[in-house]
């Protein structure tokens, strides 16, 4: 894994497959026979040939996964016959993950990681946002602050799930969905949370919470940093209320 761009010329030792680039989080690790994940390539065009040399020496990665393919890496992958898949958010991958890569069908699977679809509604009223503190009775992220969240049931649309959770958790019925954005994904250990975010408006700030939460607060958007939140909540909020 590298969260930084990689150059195969100078960044990886052609004789051993060891990562030399000190900027790379996996400096000193060996890529031979492993699936090598990094956002994209950088540096000299000779990097393509360096990938070929790794292959001949038996030190090429088994596959490459990129956020976005660029010509140097794509050229190297083809001439060295290294399977490559791009368009993958490599921030969801962790060093040591088991991955299935199929470059012909262009997919990547993580057999040991489950993806869970949840809705998160950020409730807005009079310029304030509602944060709820999760109770000790819930299955995950106890005591952390969250929006109105819950699993999307099989055969349920995400907006239906959002309305159901809003009714159950804060007894809000007269709500208006102001905004819906594309799902965001967050990795937490063996789970990828696929969060479907909604921004909803309620007229009345008087709400009633159920067993899933122990308390709530109406906050202004810039206060979010003070709260220990579930993974990705800040990003969800900034995407929902940003332009």
């Amino acid at each position: 894994m590298s969260t930084f761009p990689i150059s195969f010329l100078g960044g990886v030792d052609p004789a051993s497959g060891t990562i030399l680039d000190p900027e790379c989080d996996s400096e000193g690790e060996n890529i031979s026979g492993k699936v090598f994940c990094f956002p994209f390539g950088k540096g000299s065009t000779v990097g393509s040939y360096a990938m070929y040399q790794l292959k001949l020496g038996g030190h090429a990665p088994a596959a490459i996964i990129n956020d976005s393919a660029e010509p140097i890496i794509a050229t190297g992958a083809i001439i060295a016959d290294i399977p490559m898949v791009d368009g993958v958010d490599v921030s969801l991958l962790r060093s040591g993950d088991l991955v299935d890569v199929d470059a012909d069908e262009e997919y990547v699977e993580l057999p040991d990681v489950v993806e869970k679809h949840v809705v998160t509604s950020i409730v807005k009223s009079k310029g304030k946002l509602l944060l709820l503190r999760r109770s000790d009775k819930v299955g995950s992220y106890r005591g952390q602050w969250a929006g109105v969240s819950g699993f999307i049931e099989p055969h349920e649309r995400d907006d239906e799930a959002a309305r159901r959770e809003l009714a159950e958790e804060i007894a809000a019925e007269k709500i208006r969905i102001v905004r819906k954005i594309d799902p965001l994904r967050f990795r937490d250990k063996g789970t990828i949370w696929c969060v479907h975010p909604f921004l909803v408006e309620v007229k009345n700030t008087k709400i009633r919470i159920d067993w899933e939460h122990r308390s709530f607060e109406w906050i202004s958007p810039d206060e979010i940093g003070r709260f220990r939140t579930v993974p990705g909540l800040q990003q969800v909020i900034s995407r929902l209320i940003g332009d």
């Binding site: 052609p14 065009t45 000779v46 393509s48 040939y49 360096a50 070929y52 040399q53 001949l56 393919a69 660029e70 010509p71 140097i72 794509a74 050229t75 992958a77 083809i78 001439i79």
Partner: protein, 389 residues
């Protein structure tokens, strides 16, 4: 991307492994840049010829690939790391020579034309206006697009070779008319004597990735050659449009979003910044390779002078131009080495020299990095005066 039945067959390997690999490469790059289809090319220019730039990894790839592939369109080769005949006089060792020889024979067996120059357009491979080509070598690419009106992206060595093998490239970037329209206008009132390369260098810095419209003094073909080369080395520019009353070429300026200017002061500041000092052990002229008229001008200037011999001197040109100018070569030889097939950028000059003076804006970009040199910019005239009396 849409592929024809024939292209699909190539991709599936029915025409052999080499053509399959070449097709895979062209298609993969086309998909990255969202090309809709492949288009035929009339010629290719292949970079990655010097052992210094491609190393052992490059040799291995080329030798393996050469067993499988032949080029199907005219394809010429970039400069080597040495002059095939005069390499010993350049201080190149036998080990380097042997590695270089393997690269040459790999390209030769693929049917690549061994022109060994960055100016194929002065050595027989000169595309015409409107022709689609797949050229690597940034200085040749920018000349072909801007001065000759041919259409090419700035290819890498392997992608130009792959395009030459299948005779096609993916249609994106500068192959499409809409991407050739200038986005920034750069006004230049005067270019001081000998400062054309540095002006190109400044345009490259200002334009970044955008196609510039250069509204400035009229330039000769030779001047366009060095102007564009410096521009492409200093920025990601592969094409510029320019005002030229003689050619009456109309430029579509509707996409211009910014207007900038370069004045004599900017050019002087740039020259001061790249001046370095007077202590050099090599004077290198000919990046890009000298044209016949450049050799003629220099020979005329030096004819009645005597060599100073304070430093080594390289005049770099192609073997085609060399052969065409025996009288000029005879004059220049009194003052230094007239080299073919190579130049100060791709030769292993760091093994013999530490400080190099040049009149090339492109060389100012690469001498300090690739060549590990302390570089000094001087105009051609200043260099000729420094090497003679």
């Amino acid at each position: 991307m849409h592929l024809t039945k024939q292209e699909e067959r190539t991709l599936s390997g029915e025409e052999g492994f080499g053509r399959q690999k070449a097709m895979e490469l062209v298609v993969a790059l086309g998909e990255i840049y969202r090309a809709k289809r492949l288009i035929p090319i009339t010629s290719a220019q292949i970079s990655g010829a010097s052992f210094k730039t491609i190393g052992d990894a490059g040799i291995k790839f080329l030798e393996d690939f050469s067993h499988e592939a032949k080029v199907s369109v005219r394809a010429s080769l970039n400069p080597l790391g040495l002059d095939e005949r005069r390499w010993q006089s350049m201080g190149v060792d036998k080990k380097f020579f042997d590695k270089q020889a393997r690269i040459i024979s790999a390209y030769k067996s693929m049917g690549v034309e061994l022109l060994y120059t960055c100016t194929p357009y002065l050595a027989g491979n000169r595309p015409r206006q409107g022709q689609h080509i797949a050229w690597a070598e940034s200085s040749a690419t920018v000349f072909a697009n801007s001065y000759l009106g041919a259409m090419t992206n700035r290819e890498g060595g392997p992608s130009a070779l792959a395009a030459a093998v299948i005779g096609k490239t993916a249609e994106y970037g500068l192959h499409l008319e809409e991407n050739r329209r200038p986005r920034v206008r750069i006004d230049i009132k005067v270019i001081p004597d000998g400062m054309v390369p540095l002006t190109g260098y400044l345009v490259g810095k200002l334009a970044g990735k955008r196609v510039p419209f250069v509204n400035g003094p009229s330039m000769s073909e030779d001047e366009h050659k060095s102007f564009g080369a410096a521009m492409a080395a200093a920025g990601a520019v592969s094409m510029y449009a320019f005002s030229d009353s003689k050619r009456r070429k109309s430029t579509n300026t509707s996409q211009i979003e910014e207007r900038l200017s370069i004045d004599a002061r900017d050019i002087q500041d740039c020259a001061d910044g790249l001046k370095g000092d007077d202590a050099w052990d090599l004077v290198a002229i000919g990046c890009p390779h000298c044209s016949p008229s450049e050799l003629r001008t220099m020979a005329r200037a030096l004819k009645n002078r005597t060599p100073r011999k304070k430093s080594d001197v390289w005049f770099c040109t192609s073997r085609m131009v060399f052969a065409r100018c025996p009288k000029e070569v005879a004059v220049l030889r009194k003052f230094g080495n007239v080299l073919c097939d190579t130049c100060m950028v791709v030769a292993p000059i760091e093994s013999s020299y530490r400080r190099t003076a040049s009149d090339s804006g492109k060389a100012m970009v690469y001498l300090p990095t690739l060549g590990k040199q302390k570089a000094s910019f001087r105009s051609t005239k200043q260099l000729l005066e420094a090497i003679s009396r």
